[in-house]
Subunit: 156 residues, 2 copies
DNA sequence: CATTTTTCGTTGCAAGTGCAACGATTGTCA
DNA sequence: TGACAATCGTTGCACTTGCAACGAAAAATG
């Protein structure tokens, strides 16, 4: 007798579908208005929090592979949104920072994106929000103890 | 003054990180043991529920673009896990079904994958599971009313 | 019936992705 | 100090992906 299995009730599948739908919805905004990809968007946002970051900084904190970050930064530089300078002190590092144009683009996008997120969160009660995030944390904690799982990306 | 924004607390980002980590963990299983990609895995699983499906059936129910399904089916056929026959009645349709080898591969993978999912769900209380899935549904419902969002894939 | 539209699956093509490997720079340790 | 190892960012390469366009087949329209 065959193992009964319903993909539509499978946790990883449901998460993937929801996550993808939400990502797409957001991408509509920064893609249409500023031609950004997901990787470029993440890099750009992360640069807003701190200046003079290296590729590796972004790589470890933003959950993108190193080559992906490198190329995203290259495209952002080509678009004039980002500036690359040799890192002082350590000659291997590259110091990346936002240009005025990059700041301005972020200024356009962030309010829109925050507004969309707010609409999603407003549909939930306080308790639901709390439990939802707690569950995500618990799932990460379970994965942390699984040697076959990837390490959790730093979220700080 | 600049808009404060913390990517690590941004709902879409957190969802993407968790979803990707979970997907990767699963992919380890069916990729290493049977050389399947995510698309191939989804197609294979969906074929288990019903026989003689068309590309379009899979496309609409499994949240994969049509060309992606077509190519995944082609690779599965090449690996001997799937059989393609011209659809009777409608000459445009392609009738896809599992071979014995495909059934056998699923028989290997499904218990392992279900076990991993069970470990994740067991870390949650009944209430947490309930709220978590309810929140996912609510987020979908909010997206349903957003004309800029993609339609929700059928989950049946 | 004849003609136009729609649907189905596939393919072309440009672009992005993951992984390994590379040169360059820095750190480590005998 | 000198040899070796580790780290940083980039690049090569094979592969996948998304989107548009295509031919074949069926449906809709007159």
């Amino acid at each position: 007798m065959s193992h009964s299995f319903d993909l539509s009730k499978f946790l990883p599948y449901r998460l993937a579908v929801l996550s993808e739908r939400i990502s797409r919805r957001l991408a509509v905004e920064y893609e249409r208005t500023h031609g950004l990809s997901v990787a470029e968007w993440r890099v750009l946002v992360h640069l807003q929090s701190g200046e003079n970051l290296s590729i590796r900084d972004i790589h470890t904190r933003v959950n993108l592979e190193k080559p992906r970050v490198s190329r995203a930064v290259g495209r952002l530089q080509g678009a004039g949104l980002v500036r690359k300078m040799p890192g002082q002190g350590d000659g291997r590092l590259v110091s990346i920072s936002l240009t005025d144009k990059g700041q301005s683009a972020l200024g356009d996008i962030l309010p829109v994106v925050s507004q969309i997120e707010a609409e999603w969160l407003d549909a939930l009660s306080n308790g639901e929000r709390e439990v939802f995030f707690k569950v995500m944390e618990k799932l990460h904690a379970t994965l942390d103890q699984d040697p076959s799982a990837r390490p959790r990306p730093r979220l700080d």
